[in-house]
């Protein structure tokens, strides 16, 4: 409750939450909101191809004569499914690896962190391109690739926190009571890192959505589903030369919208829970001004 109040006091966080809520609402109710079903083939006249926006087709039509708005609405589903599932996967793997590496340390910890370092230095996008090209362009393959490559930062974050938490006295107390390692990790260490993990997971969703869009834009999206990245891909190839901006801009803006929303939420959560970003209550700039204005100026003594 305390945390919720703190969150609601941050305008950026509220804006982000509203933006995300809108997108989730659109994705959930897509069949009712979309004026046309984008999966149905339409018979087209030559004039319908890349027709500009009008009253019937609010965002115009694409090169197959389909409604852009409906595709945009259905595309939200793919983005959100990929984003949430992949980030949940990386959260789970990253937290587990971080907890184990941080708590047990020693050889296991070193080994796990070398794996993390290894994955961290490989550029993600080229690796994803190669894996998708080999494994095939299914939705699940895309989710797996993004989820299995995106957990390294979470693991590092969790490990660094665990290293300090495990030295705290309540962990020693649990040990002196005879608690098993599993119990200490789950009951005493994990609850302390959970807020940080959630803040990081929200940021990861936007990274995952961007990764999916990049893959789709490069032609490696799931061919059976409409996603924003894929729309960009088609628009880039076919609509740009005809100045059909209504096909290119909306998916671009949608991607920006949803990642901006998630970054706003994630940064706000991070600000609330991350001990490194938290400042003392006296550091509030308004109070600082009051203090400085009221206080006599202190002269720095001359150097001896």
């Amino acid at each position: 409750m305390e945390a919720l109040k703190k969150y609601l006091r941050k305008p950026m966080g509220v804006v982000g939450a509203v933006m995300l809520f809108l997108i989730v609402f659109v994705a959930v109710f897509a069949p009712w909101l979309a004026p046309y079903d984008p999966n149905v083939r339409v018979e087209v006249e030559p004039d319908d191809i890349l027709a500009p926006p009008d009253a019937e087709y609010l965002l115009g039509r694409d090169d197959a004569g389909k409604d852009v708005l409906s595709q945009l609405i259905y595309g939200a589903r793919v983005s959100l499914i990929v984003g949430f599932t992949a980030s949940f996967m990386s959260m789970f793997i990253g937290t587990t690896v971080g907890l184990v590496a941080g708590y047990f340390g020693g050889r296991i910890g070193t080994l796990l962190m070398r794996v993390v370092d290894f994955l961290m230095v490989i550029p993600d996008l080229p690796l994803m391109l190669v894996i998708i090209a080999v494994m095939g362009r299914g939705l699940w393959n895309i989710i797996l690739v993004i989820g299995l490559l995106g957990w390294t930062y979470t693991a590092r974050l969790v490990r660094s926190q665990v290293l300090s938490i495990k030295e705290r006295q309540f962990v020693l107390r649990a040990r002196s009571l005879g608690a098993s390692s599993a119990r200490i990790i789950l009951r005493h260490v994990f609850p302390q890192v959970m807020p940080l993990v959630i803040a990081q997971a929200v940021l990861d969703i936007s990274v995952a959505i961007l990764a999916e869009s990049s893959l789709a834009f490069l032609g490696l999206g799931d061919p059976t589903l409409i996603s924003w990245g894929m729309m960009l891909n088609f628009a880039f190839e076919r609509a740009l030369s005809r100045q059909a901006w209504w096909f290119l801009l909306p998916p671009g803006f949608a991607i920006v919208w949803v990642s901006l929303a998630l970054v706003l939420i994630g940064n706000t959560l991070d600000e609330i829970v991350n001990p490194r970003l938290r400042t003392h209550h006296l550091f509030d700039p308004r109070r600082m001004v009051a203090l400085v204005a009221g206080a006599p100026r202190v002269e720095t003594p001359a150097e001896e």
Binding site: Q169, F170, S176, L177
Partner: protein, 347 residues
């Protein structure tokens, strides 16, 4: 059983090696060590309260950790209930297997028996309670770990009893709260309740009142005293404050730089201190009557670090009475009166 001391610490050493760094490792520099505890021996009888007194850095907390087997001694032994603790925490070894009560059970169970019999209270009640657990869960956790209660009602009853014994009554007024909602004294009571709920035989109280307000201290110490009287718990009480130690302990061991310098009945140590260090400590206890101020004896300098321990008597650089012999030879702990032992050439 009554004749045997419940806790026997003999020649306990605990050294922590310092990291040498890359250059040190390459040049094979000798590994320097912090000698936190450097040859400590004492016994604690059943139902006795022994105070370990010393400045910070004198090694008293390290002794407590070794007594509970939370650290492994570098040298020497800690025997609790006649079993070597260093072997007990691993559940195997000669002293464990020859013990009648322990030989027939599994290794894990042996360790659990140790954890059940000996408990620790930590110095800082703001740190030793998990801030995300409710009071009930904190006190009930030992019961869950040791699977001691069959039903939820029984568990609640034991938690209630423990909390109310420690002066947190009515218990249900407190147990759904988080530690942050309680005061320092209340938290320390919760910590004690969490240690008592297992009905231990030995309680290591590591500076349990040093973080608390003076007004709360007496209450907590009275509580510990009552526990000894009513339940026969043996208490090893570490503190830097001679006044609180004199308040309720039976015997007192004064530690300096990882060694015991004076050990004896509390009344004897306080009324007739033999070691100059003990005298200095006693002279700075605040006296309630300002007219009867004693001459204070302020020690010069800091406690030396435990890496470069001075040769000879380790107290001589700060000792107001040091003579030539103190610089050369290390005084052994010898008996000066029945049960009163001092490590000083001049005593």
């Amino acid at each position: 059983m009554e004749t045997q001391p419940i806790l026997e610490v003999s020649d306990l050493h605990k050294h922590f090696p310092l990291a040498r760094g890359v250059w040190g490792t390459l040049t094979r520099m000798p590994c320097r060590t912090v000698r936190a505890v450097d040859g400590v021996s004492f016994c604690v009888e059943q139902r006795e309260i022994l105070a370990l007194v010393g400045e910070s850095g004198s090694g008293k907390t390290t002794v407590g950790m070794n007594v509970l087997g939370l650290q492994q001694p570098t040298q020497g032994h800690v025997c609790f209930d006649g079993v070597d603790v260093a072997e007990w925490v691993h559940g195997r070894g000669v002293s464990v297997e020859s013990n009648a009560q322990l030989s027939g059970v599994s290794r894990r169970r042996r360790v659990m028996i140790l954890r059940e019999r000996a408990q620790m209270i930590f110095q800082d009640p703001y740190e030793s309670l998990n801030p995300r657990q409710k009071i009930f869960d904190i006190v009930a956790e030992p019961l869950e770990i040791h699977r001691l209660t069959a039903s939820r009602e029984e568990k609640a009853e034991r938690v209630r009893l423990a909390l109310e014994t420690c002066g947190l009554a009515p218990a249900d007024h407190f147990w759904s709260r988080f530690p942050a909602e309680l005061s320092g004294g209340q938290r320390q009571r919760v910590a004690i309740a969490g240690a008592l709920v297992l009905e231990p035989r030995l309680l290591v109280a590591d500076e349990p009142v040093s973080m608390l307000d003076v007004s709360i201290r007496a209450e907590i110490l009275n509580l510990l005293h009552t526990l000894r009287r009513e339940r026969g718990i043996t208490i090893l009480y570490t503190t830097h404050d001679l006044a609180t130690a004199g308040f309720f302990t039976d015997r007192m061991a004064v530690m300096y730089l990882g060694r015991i310098v004076e050990l004896g009945p509390t009344a004897a140590v306080l009324s007739e201190p033999r070691h100059p260090y003990t005298r200095a400590l006693i002279s700075v206890i605040p006296a309630p009557n300002p007219r009867r101020r004693r001459k204070r004896q302020i020690l010069q300098g800091e406690i030396p670090n435990a890496i470069d321990i001075p040769p000879g008597c380790r107290f001589h650089p700060r000792c107001p009475m040091a003579v030539e012999a103190c610089r050369v030879s290390d005084p052994p702990l010898r008996e000066v009166a029945p049960g009163h032992r001092v490590a000083c050439h001049l005593a």
